[in-house]
């Protein structure tokens, strides 16, 4: 179609929903209709389960779904990273095999980028993929992988050439997680949760047709995945309070169940962020509000938290007005980490001796204790504060890049970590 008229699109969507949506449908059946009609991912190409709409119009379609109470396709999670990556770099065979299943949500996906030996330095991956006979054989270790133990497919970044510079010797694969060579072990964190896995790859196999893009182009493909990751992470928070919330009907029930499974590993994320929302309430309940020193600390937290919140609003406003992205847009993660750090102190000051107690004996049934042992992750997960500050100073402020000694040398000559 040439020009897209919003009103026309809305009408079309309304009509289709009226004709197809039924809360008593099985979720799989409903999503099947979404996939076949293209209304599930309307900005995807017509030939691949979409309707070729401009991204700008997706919001309008979403609104029509919302108005009708029709369940949209969850636009988040690793599976959507897989879709975005395959759409941009994958072969028709891969699109054929995976895109529909991603819309219907039949498979669980995981991301196999990080390695114990390369934390923030993803391009330093040392997992090796070698062509043996007519298959890729993969050996190595991945970490920080969510749902690896449940996943059917993994997005794998592996090194196919150790003689090229680090960014040029990588390749990208879709790995079948249900094979003998793949072992996922839970990775327990200091707060007791095990949201991630370690994945051990021992002669795991990948058929050539499951490689994404050409050998050596892995980093470019991975960059696409990473670009979409932040957005996914954002909407993930939204996932929970989805259209299904509080509605009756088979499709709703099935999505609620799915959501619960998907969100389970993330139950401690609000505590990681510091639960600023609890500060004043707890201070009043405990009487700590009567302590002027505590009031000062709470006020400092509120200043930082609200200023960060308003900075995000300001960034969104600028975006919505079509202005170029200002510096305010790149500070969210650093601000969130500062908020979390300060919130930990505030909750400690408010709780006093109770800050030593956890679980059923701890304040709010252990929620406070979970804050106290979870906030340190806020300055590490998804890029440490140090990396973030480098990025802000280099990309936003245009300051010189860190001096790197690993850019042009053959990868095998670069010092790297040995992992036990």
């Amino acid at each position: 179609m040439a020009a897209h008229n919003e009103a026309a699109i809305r009408a079309e969507a309304r009509a289709w929903i009226a004709a197809n949506w039924d809360p008593e449908l099985a979720l799989a059946e409903w999503r099947g209709r979404l996939a076949d009609s293209g209304w599930g991912m309307p900005h995807w190409p017509v030939e691949w389960h979409g309707r070729g709409l401009p991204v700008a119009l997706v919001a309008a379609v979403d609104e029509e779904f919302e108005r009708a109470g029709a369940l949209p396709v969850p636009k988040s999670g690793i599976r959507m990273l897989a879709a975005a990556t395959i759409l941009e770099h994958g072969s028709d065979m891969l699109k054929e095999k995976f895109l529909r299943r991603i819309v219907t949500g039949e498979d669980i996906w995981c991301q196999l980028f990080s390695e114990p030996g390369s934390g923030s330095d993803l391009a330093g991956a040392t997992t090796r993929a070698a062509m043996v006979g007519n298959k890729w054989v993969v050996n190595g270790q991945k970490v920080w992988t969510t749902s690896a133990h449940k996943a059917h497919w993994g997005l794998l970044l592996a090194r196919t050439d150790f003689d090229l510079p680090k960014h040029r010797g990588l390749s990208y694969f879709v790995l079948d997680m249900r094979q003998p060579g793949v072992e996922a072990r839970p990775l327990r964190q200091m707060n007791g949760h095990a949201s991630f896995n370690q994945v051990f790859l021992t002669d795991a196999e990948v058929l050539p047709e499951f490689q994404v893009a050409a050998t050596g182009d892995g980093w470019a493909v991975a960059t696409t995945t990473l670009m979409h990751e932040r957005r996914a992470a954002d909407s993930l928070r939204a996932w929970g309070r989805g259209a299904a919330a509080g509605r009756a009907g088979r499709a709703y029930d099935e999505e609620r169940a799915e959501t619960e499974t998907v969100m389970a590993p993330y139950s401690w994320y609000p505590q990681r962020a510091g639960r600023v929302d609890l500060a004043m309430r707890r201070a009043r309940e405990t009487g700590a509000i009567d302590d002027p020193a505590v009031r000062q600390e709470i006020a400092r937290l509120l200043v930082l938290h609200k200023s960060a919140e308003w900075t995000a609003l300001r960034a969104r406003a600028a975006q919505e007005m079509g202005k170029p992205q200002g510096p305010e847009g790149s500070l969210g993660k650093l601000a969130a980490s500062a908020v979390a750090r300060l919130a930990n102190r505030v909750h400690t000051a408010i709780s006093g001796a109770d800050a030593m107690l956890a679980g059923a004996d701890g304040p709010m049934d252990g929620t406070i204790a979970e804050i106290l042992v979870s906030t340190p992750a806020a300055s590490i997960a998804g890029g440490t504060d140090e990396i973030q500050k480098n990025i802000v100073s280099e990309r936003v402020l245009g300051m010189p890049k860190e001096i790197r000694l690993d850019a042009d040398k053959p990868f095998r000559d670069i010092p790297r970590n040995t992992v036990a």
């Binding site: 200043v303 308003w310 480098n390």
Partner: protein
């Protein structure tokens, strides 16, 4: 949507920035700060003739432009950035709102047009005995004298107090205490019995004075006994003004420090290439941008009549004042020894930041107010 700056606002910001870059460079601040007045009639008249600064937030019916606090704060950000030496804050951020909020219709018609045109320079004396800008502290006594009033007592830390044509003062009726019995009064800058002593200040770019009232003739501003509430409201608004000015100053310091680091080399490397400098730069950016968001949000909230404005204003003031000082310290540090010299401009803004920490109440006090007024 509290961050939807219109094209007009953005254009206004751009115009002012270029205007001040041209008319109010640091050299001009250095010249004026060495004068006893700290500003010049001629320059003040010109900036009002050309930019109508004083008129921005004064209603059109009183000769103003009728814009809101958001527009005035755009100007304040730019003035803080330029460190403009002018009686703007005293006149337009303190006195005019006091008259506009407390004055009778007749008084507004009589006083505001002169302020809007820039002819009348005015200020507000209400720091109180402890210098905490708490109305209950009012240090001046008001006694009825025939049809009018006479003021007795001393108010200090009055911005441009020794040069203002008009002084709005908060004073207490005999035998009253706390927030009761307080009223605002208008006093002629040259009135008999008014002794105005300029004070030596750390920040020479904004002069302060000590005003001694010895039976000074004064006109009641608006209703008798309404002074505390009026002063509160004016001080809440002024806190947002000061926060905006601080944001502009902090951003200027940040940008100058970055420019210096970029052109300076050490050990054969750009100073900007050291990770310590880069991380300072990121911290400064965060300080400036977060304070900017709070100040702009507060101004918009004020214009929308947000009922939580007292808490929001204190949040913005404490946040901006603290950010300004952190940024000023980083700016000096990044300049190294040069940044501690008189000829380098950094200290001019550092000293404004120093004054901003305590002017209109320090951060400890505003944090107290924030918690006290917090809605949840």
């Amino acid at each position: 949507m509290r961050f939807a700056f219109s094209e007009e606002q953005e254009a206004f910001r751009e115009t002012l920035r270029r205007y001040f870059e041209d008319r109010a460079p640091a050299a001009e601040a250095r010249r004026l700060m060495e004068t006893p007045e700290g500003w010049e009639r001629a320059g003040w008249a010109r900036v009002n003739a050309e930019m109508g600064l004083a008129a921005i937030a004064i209603p059109e019916e009183y000769g103003g432009q009728g814009f809101g606090l958001s527009e005035q704060c755009v100007a304040l950000e730019e003035m803080g950035r330029a460190l403009l030496c002018a009686p703007f804050f005293a006149t337009a951020a303190l006195a005019a709102p006091a008259i506009g909020h407390a004055g009778t219709e007749a008084q507004k018609r009589a006083l505001l047009p002169g302020i809007a045109s820039g002819e009348t320079v005015a200020t507000l004396a209400c720091a109180g005995a402890r210098g905490r800008w708490e109305p209950g502290d009012a240090a001046v006594a008001a006694e009825k004298a025939g049809a009018g009033w006479r003021l007795h007592g001393v108010e200090s830390y009055v911005p441009d107090g020794h040069t203002a044509d008009l002084v709005v003062a908060l004073a207490r009726a005999p035998g009253t205490a706390g927030e009761d019995g307080l009223s605002l009064f208008v006093v002629d800058g040259g009135a008999a019995g008014l002794e105005r002593r300029p004070l030596e200040t750390v920040d020479r770019t904004r002069k302060l004075a000590r005003l001694s009232f010895d039976g000074v003739e004064a006109e009641l501003l608006g209703a008798e006994g309404a002074g505390a509430a009026a002063a509160e409201k004016v001080l809440v608004r002024a806190a947002i003004c000061l926060a905006s000015e601080a944001v502009g100053g902090a951003e200027r310091l940040r940008e100058d420090a970055m420019a210096y680091a970029a052109m300076r080399v050490q050990f054969g490397r750009s100073v900007a290439s050291f990770q310590a400098t880069k991380h300072k730069a990121a911290d400064m950016l965060m300080d400036v941008e977060l304070a900017k968001s709070a100040a702009r949000y507060a101004a918009a909230a004020f214009d929308e009549g947000d009922t939580d404005i007292a808490a929001i204003a204190s949040l913005a003031k404490a946040g901006a004042a603290d950010a300004y000082m952190r940024v000023a310290l980083h700016a000096i540090q990044i300049h190294g020894g040069i940044g501690f010299t008189w000829d380098n401009d950094t200290h001019l803004w550092f000293k404004r930041a120093k004054a901003t920490e305590v002017f209109l109440g320090d951060s400890n006090r505003h944090r107290e107010l924030l918690v006290a007024n917090w809605p949840e």
